[in-house]
Homo-oligomer: 357 residues x 2
């Protein structure tokens, strides 16, 4: 098992690998013992598959369970409020502890609940997807608004992240694909050699558990280093949004859940690479197609339909479109792009993708 330390405002550890849940009764025993109530907020699909596995590690404590809708649909104000209702009806107090059990969406909404219940209670992230290697570290919490994704939330660090890789073995191919998008994003913004290793993968099902743990650890290390430098996203943390300006617009336009987050990010990264005139664009398009990311979707959506969403992006300001670009691997920067240039680049990308498919 691997351990990484995140030196945020409130420092905490990320534990990656089989056996991570053994730490409840070990390193985190005193945290659990101190809680007057322990509540698990679990994605309903994850709960069906893995709740009994989790509870086997928690037999020393009396634990309450709340299941919430699976995936992104949980990030609604209704689910947010129903979590608060559950905590209050279970007589939770400021001394209660919350465990977020699920993918990134579960962590986002449960983290937002933890940060706002009685103005903040401790919580532990228990991510169950590859994608969540990204969101579980860094303390961003959020729910969605009909006018934009992740528009309502807080910066609030967990007490720990326990990432049990055993849970990843049951992930459906679509979830693996979604998660690997954020892994390769972390490679793009940090490390040429690692990026080359990832671009060589033509079929994710060929990855061993060891391979996967290795890539997850590298991804989390990149994320943790950036969070440590810029917890509240005033500087370098914005680089983590590589590919996300268009991704969020695609998700907003199509409605959350039509495209997985990782798929949207891969489409967004191909666009950012074209805007950057990065030499690996062709290779990335070919990698994306081989691994089943739906690049052809871009040809079916007009740029003008995405523009209003890009203008609302949290990275934009004074109405300009801000993108994270990348001329060289590992050297991201922010650039303001005029709408006309952005539109022309989009058309060019659609043509280029058409040539590969």
């Amino acid at each position: 098992m691997k351990q990484l330390q995140v030196e945020a405002d409130h420092p905490y550890s990320v534990h990656i690998g089989a056996g991570a849940f053994d730490l409840f009764a070990d390193a985190y025993r005193s945290l659990l013992d101190a809680a007057d109530q322990i509540v698990v907020i679990a994605d309903e699909r994850v709960a069906e598959l893995h709740l009994s596995y989790l509870l086997d590690f928690l037999t020393d404590w009396d634990v309450r369970i709340l299941t919430i809708p699976a995936g992104e649909s949980a990030k609604s104000v209704e689910t947010f409020m129903s979590c608060h209702s559950f905590l209050l009806s279970e007589n939770c107090s400021r001394d209660s502890l919350l465990l977020a059990f699920g993918g990134g969406a579960t962590g986002d909404v449960a983290g937002f609940v933890a940060s706002t219940f009685m103005r903040g209670i401790p919580f532990i992230q228990l991510p169950t997807t590859i994608l969540a290697h990204d969101s579980a570290v860094g303390g961003k919490t959020a729910i969605n608004h009909e006018l934009g994704k992740n528009m309502i939330g807080t910066f609030y660090q967990p007490k720990a992240v326990l990432y049990d890789s055993k849970l990843l073995s049951t992930l459906p191919p679509g979830e693996v694909r979604s998660g690997m998008a954020e892994v390769i994003k972390h490679a793009f913004i940090s490390n040429e050699k690692w990026l080359e290793d990832l671009l060589a993968i033509r079929d994710f099902s060929s990855l061993t558990e060891e391979d996967l743990n290795h890539h997850l650890e590298k991804g989390i290390a990149v994320k943790a280093a950036i969070v440590e430098e810029d917890e509240f996203e005033s500087g370098v943390r914005k680089y983590l949004n590589f590919g996300h300006t268009l991704a969020h617009a695609l998700e907003g336009h199509l409605g959350y859940g039509k495209l997985t987050h990782g798929e949207a990010v891969v489409l967004g990264m191909s666009y950012a690479l074209l805007l950057s005139e990065h030499s690996k664009l062709d290779k990335f398009i070919s990698w994306s197609v081989a691994n089943g990311y739906p690049l052809q979707l871009l040809g079916e959506i007009h740029f003008d339909a995405l523009l209003p969403y890009m203008k609302k992006d949290k990275k934009s300001s004074k109405g300009q479109l801000n993108f994270v670009l990348l001329k060289q691997t590992g050297k991201p920067f922010i650039e303001k792009i005029e709408v006309q240039r952005a539109s022309a680049a989009y058309e060019k990308l659609v043509l280029q993708i058409g040539e590969v498919i």
Copy 2:
């Protein structure tokens, strides 16, 4: 004009007195100039009386106005979400600035919006009531849940508090009464001499603007000193809840708005003084009756109706009732009280009040 500095995680100033709004174009000009959008969230009743007065100080900027329901009813999840909708529809970004114009409730909900819009934007508190001298300083934000007051919120400091005492001259007597309750609370937990001055008041309408500014400044200084020592309420900040365990239960039981917050706090303080066997209980009851606080209400409500609310209080833990008590003025402490003792004390208080009225 007086100025106090609050040395919180993010330090800021509180400006008290006539002319505080002149600082928009002076000390805070660069903050307003830097904003890509300035939004005033105003209590609808306050907006009717004072919005044009406020806007006269903001003519250098293009300002958007959102009015929200008056008083405590604004602290709902619906108002919270409608504020976010407004900010998004006005294309606000992380560089936008929010001004909270109203009493404590407006500051609470607008502060919660500021702390969660795109994970946090700057805001300035513009309190318009005496009561808000308390809530505008210290960075507590909140909305209510049907199962409890202030259950959902954050700790989030404003960039500044501009407290223009001109606005206080139009306050109705009920609002003055409500606000003076938190003033005398601050005296109880800090300063015997000041408490005696306040207990000598038999009619709030006899206070001059100068008297009022003096008491507000003293109250804010007490609040600021405690917030500096304990921003996140893990220790001494709990003392500010003197009188509030019963007050919140009364508000919860009666429904928010039936009793003003200050009235509820005066009833709660009389109860805490009895539990404390404080020598000034009789004097305080007589002061309360003279100044029109509805102490007789306690005789109409059974203790058992209030108990569930007290058990849910944020200061309780592991199901016990926790109270802030006070044997000597200026020396508050926390004590766990058994339900039976709490119930007997309540009956005794009702009898004692009956003898005075």
